[in-house]
Symmetry: D2
Subunit: 207 residues, 4 copies
Amino acid sequence: MKFSDYLIEKSKEIWKEFLPNKFLREIAEDKIKKEAFEKWLSNDYNFVKNALRFMNIISAKIPDKLIPFMTESICYIKEELKMFEEKAKEMKINLNNKVSFICQSYSNFLISSAFIHTFFENLAIYYCEEKAYYEAWNWVKKHVKNNSYKKFVEHWSSEDFRLYVEKIEEILNEFANQAGEYEKKEAEKLFIETSKFEKLFWDMAYE
Amino acid sequence: MKFSDYLIEKSKEIWKEFLPNKFLREIAEDKIKKEAFEKWLSNDYNFVKNALRFMNIISAKIPDKLIPFMTESICYIKEELKMFEEKAKEMKINLNNKVSFICQSYSNFLISSAFIHTFFENLAIYYCEEKAYYEAWNWVKKHVKNNSYKKFVEHWSSEDFRLYVEKIEEILNEFANQAGEYEKKEAEKLFIETSKFEKLFWDMAYE
Amino acid sequence: MKFSDYLIEKSKEIWKEFLPNKFLREIAEDKIKKEAFEKWLSNDYNFVKNALRFMNIISAKIPDKLIPFMTESICYIKEELKMFEEKAKEMKINLNNKVSFICQSYSNFLISSAFIHTFFENLAIYYCEEKAYYEAWNWVKKHVKNNSYKKFVEHWSSEDFRLYVEKIEEILNEFANQAGEYEKKEAEKLFIETSKFEKLFWDMAYE
Amino acid sequence: MKFSDYLIEKSKEIWKEFLPNKFLREIAEDKIKKEAFEKWLSNDYNFVKNALRFMNIISAKIPDKLIPFMTESICYIKEELKMFEEKAKEMKINLNNKVSFICQSYSNFLISSAFIHTFFENLAIYYCEEKAYYEAWNWVKKHVKNNSYKKFVEHWSSEDFRLYVEKIEEILNEFANQAGEYEKKEAEKLFIETSKFEKLFWDMAYE
């Protein structure tokens, strides 16, 4: 069993709770209230900045041969900030709203882990984040009835994004083959932890 | 106005919410339920380990002249772990209970800040943590009616601990004199953030 | 006086030692031996990877508003790796030669500082590195007699690179205005240290 | 074969170069010139401060169960600073002499590795440092003819220090059993790198 499949298997009960969830359903049905969307948008905007910090720190720890992939990933993910800014402008949403406790906790978890844990263990977090987003928005794509949020749906369910997630999966599995039991157990714990945060993040929009 | 006083002034509304609080009152009156005490004890035990990680990281960033003080602080704070272990043994409390979300979030905030922020900004967090504990347990000392939790009360309201907090205050104020506006503003934000976590931590025992 | 000018003023004696130097002169005159160029190329290739690590770590520490600039810088600098790879292919140079002690020391200095020092102090290092490279290759541009190394000369003396260095200078000066005396003194020490490494790096090609 | 023995086996040619060396021989014979001793003393004093930084950073990364050992190690090693200060006072040596390039490079290597590498890989560095010191001073102990440097000889060849090094060895070997091939290869490279620095550090006194 590939290590990535093993991690997803271990977290499947948590993933069921957010694949799909109220937010994704309301996006698909174009029924979401502006307030909930705004809450999600401004928090996710803040989150992406901290996810970049996370990616930056692990990029400093990776072996040389992963430098091209990780630096390109940073260049790729930073573009999401612009997507948020455009949508916020279009919908007259303030992106600098107060950041929710869940969002802050998730960001602090990422940065703390990036520093404390090995690059391999952090690859499990990174894979979880991106895979969960791909699956979430791919679910929306299949159920979407209109397209107010088209750009978001298309971005995270695109072929490009799918290939990007597959590349992370491939790197994770490659290093899993050379990793010891201790590191793999830690990676599993972090994957589960990240999965829980993914769930909490969606719920946050309705708090 | 000393920078330390300025920080406390800026957080006074938050400090009022936990000086005193239900937990401290119940400790003072020896009325606390084992369940609540256990929850606090096992979480604080976990927290101290992560507070040591925080102290370790900032110890790597400090100027040479602070090395003796910070390393001695680590030697001093690590002794608290033994105090928790002894109490747990006495009361047959399991210290490895599930760590609460608040405690984890507080720990991740500390470690993330330790890494991201300057040593001066982190001194503000460190001062907040220790000062808040001294004030909390000093309140208990003044209101205590019995002594089931004597060792804790005495430890954190002792002359030794008071002098230790004063030393942190002195260092913080010394560096504040050489710090720029940007750093001082960041330190203030972190002090307020830490104050909020201090409040949440006490409430956590009753969740 | 702008802080950037102050730093350059303080390091001018060191800068005189490498502006120009034997390596730059031989590049300008197209007289450099393959051995010396190879040594420089393979070491600088390794250095850029570690400079990216340095940039990644400080990118995690910067205020939100600098995220776009720093992530774009990472995307910009990573392209240099390709320039090295192309030249190495053209000249049949092995880029994985043993890394020199100077190059390794410089890289470890960068990564250690990135972690230990404040983002502002690290901006001084970053500015020094890039400014020194711009000035070095701009000297070559003005004295060049041929163009075997045209791509390198053009890259680091280009209008694009000049504007990039100016942007770093601007950010450094902006934060200098809000920085305290302590941080500015530290930044100065690090700028001087970096200047010395810049000098040693050029000499390294002839060891 | 124990992992610690494997590492020492892999570095034996380098260790032969410093076990013993001119400095240790001159210490044993009480023939060392004040200049050389002063150079070593002031550099090693600076080095110990940075070794504490290294220990602090890895202490933040270790699993919970190693916290007592690592914090106690910090408390133990910080005492060496006092030993240096006393000797400097006795011999009227200035401990704040210019730090040598080798010493600085070694310190930057430690701090950079502490941040970049896994705690297991860093245990290999830590073990190398302490084991090399024990073996060096134990050689002196066996060949000493007088005792001007008695305290240093006794400290690093003591039963206490021997047991401390054994404890690090035990922890390293315990985690080696759960480590993957990738981590073990990295640990080996770092052990060899550290061995080279140990050699260079002794030579530095005569530069």
